[in-house]
């Protein structure tokens, strides 16, 4: 590559990075400024004091919300992995009546926007008495067509001879599933896990509907609550909360980026 071309590439890369990262960096800087400094138009903090962060934890039960978000994301992740991998296993390795119809129905659920069904779902959760509970926040998301599809694509790459050999030697399905199929699919399971955790952590509409007290409210709704209460005066505190909320998912993304990309591509293309 010519020097000129790599120079141009670098310049464009840096411009792109500055634009993409600007809002995140901006939030970070604001989180170290006081209300008075913001009004004066100070652009750079003169001291990196954690005052706003401390206030953020005092003003709203942020720790509680973070914990709730973590629990909810973790439960959904485990639930989706388990439920999807069981179904994907059946679709790939088992012969049973109506298998193709059921697979078609699974794919068809991807056509239904979750928002279009949110009203009866909310009423169902209310009737079950699951509002303001982890159950209401997690169970509706356990079955995920995308997850079943992604894992099915991967399970299909497992040599069928392995399955036949297991059958011949009388290995039970569940043992084969648990000790052979799942370990061979670590990468796809990791992809789906990261995906589940990220999407659940970032969920907004559903937790807004089914939580109305602090007990199980997630951190995203906590942010909305904060922003509505604090708006005019303490933007630095709000931004401190934002930084706290984005930290876990950004870290997870940076660690799992390659994995996520590879895995999602498999689901997308094949």
């Amino acid at each position: 590559m010519s020097i000129f071309r790599s120079m141009v590439t670098y310049i464009l890369l840096v411009i792109g990075a500055v634009i993409v990262m600007f809002p995140i960096g901006y939030a970070f800087i604001i989180s170290f400024l006081s209300g008075a400094q913001l009004l004066q138009g100070v652009l750079w903090p003169d001291e990196w004091s954690l005052r706003n962060y401390v206030t953020a934890f005092e003003k709203v039960p942020l720790l509680r919300y973070l914990w709730n978000s973590f629990i909810v994301s973790f439960i959904v992740m485990i639930g989706q992995l388990l439920v999807s991998s069981l179904a994907a296993y059946a679709f790939v390795f088992l012969r049973f009546w109506g298998r193709d119809v059921l697979f078609f129905m699974t794919i068809a659920t991807m056509l239904i926007p979750w928002e279009a069904t949110v009203i009866p779902n909310f009423l169902t959760i209310q009737k079950l008495g699951w509002t303001n509970s982890y159950l209401g926040l997690t169970v509706p998301f356990f079955a995920l067509a995308f997850g079943i599809f992604l894992l099915r694509q991967h399970f299909k790459t497992i040599p069928f001879e392995l399955y036949e050999a297991a059958q011949v030697s009388g290995v039970r399905h569940f043992r084969f599933f648990w000790y052979v199929v799942l370990p061979l699919s670590k990468t796809s399971l990791a992809t789906l896990g990261v995906y589940s955790f990220l999407t659940t952590w970032n969920m907004y509409l559903w937790p807004l509907l089914v939580t109305n007290d602090e007990k199980v409210r997630t951190v995203q709704i906590g942010l909305k609550q904060m922003q509505t209460q604090e708006m005019a005066t303490e933007w630095g505190v709000v931004m401190a909360a934002v930084v706290i909320v984005i930290m876990p998912t950004l870290l997870l993304l940076f660690i799992g980026q390659k994995q996520l990309q590879k895995g999602l591509m498999q689901g997308a293309i094949k």
Binding site: I30, V83, F96, A116, T117, K224
Partner: protein, 292 residues
Amino acid sequence: MFRSVKQNFEGMLYIFPSFLLFAIFVFYPMVRTGYLSVHMTDFQGNPTNFIGLEHFRYLLEDVNFQQSVKATLLFVLYTVPPTIIIALSLALLANEKVKGIQLFRTLFSSTLGMSVAASSVIWMFMYNPAIGVINRIIAALGGEERQWLLNPDTALIAAAVATVWMNIGFAFLILLGGLQNIDSSLYENAKIAGVSYMYQLRRITIPLLSPTLFFVTTVSLIHAFQTFGQIDILTKGGPMNATTVIVYSIYREAFINYNFGFASAQAVVLFFIVLLVTIVQFAVVERKVHYQ
């Protein structure tokens, strides 16, 4: 025979959790939404009396609903094409083999880790008329400062710009993956033939990337029709309903006005719009996709 019964039973057992959940949280609510949409409902969401297609007839005449369909379509137009174009440009850049490229790949995909709520709060502050960075920059350049989110002419565009930013990470990551899947020997041949970058882009990269572009476009379109969080935080559907996209309208009708039947009718419309978009994507657009 016994074996096959046993196989059937086992298959059902593995499928059962998924389909029980699909039945309760996808199929039933879909049917129920349709059912509620042809009924009047009480405050608990119970149907009271059958009114046929009355809600839909009313929707056709309702100025507010027309406005929300218009806002939704404009929002899709303002978000999907810019997201794809920007993400594609970044992916092309990040696919160059230069030192330290991994860092840029990570940075470009970072908005994937940003929640809608957190992103919206940041953008809300950036748009703040008095102390936000956008008006500060404009003022420094000698331009006219605006109340971005309070002016019906700019609110939807402002929300769209924020949304494009939020969606870049996902589109970038998928497109970069698509670019990396293209056989590099094709580029070497092009290099030997001495073709220009633009020619190579038009004749090799875009056609070979078209399955990925198709996937990203379809997902982005469907996603855009389901927009809610940024509207709820940035504008609450205002000013003057300029940003009341369809999901926000459903939310307001059902969970603020407790008008579940009427909201369900809007949800049915949303379902058909998304279905139509998906069908058009697969029936018309996919034909132009170049599969290897």
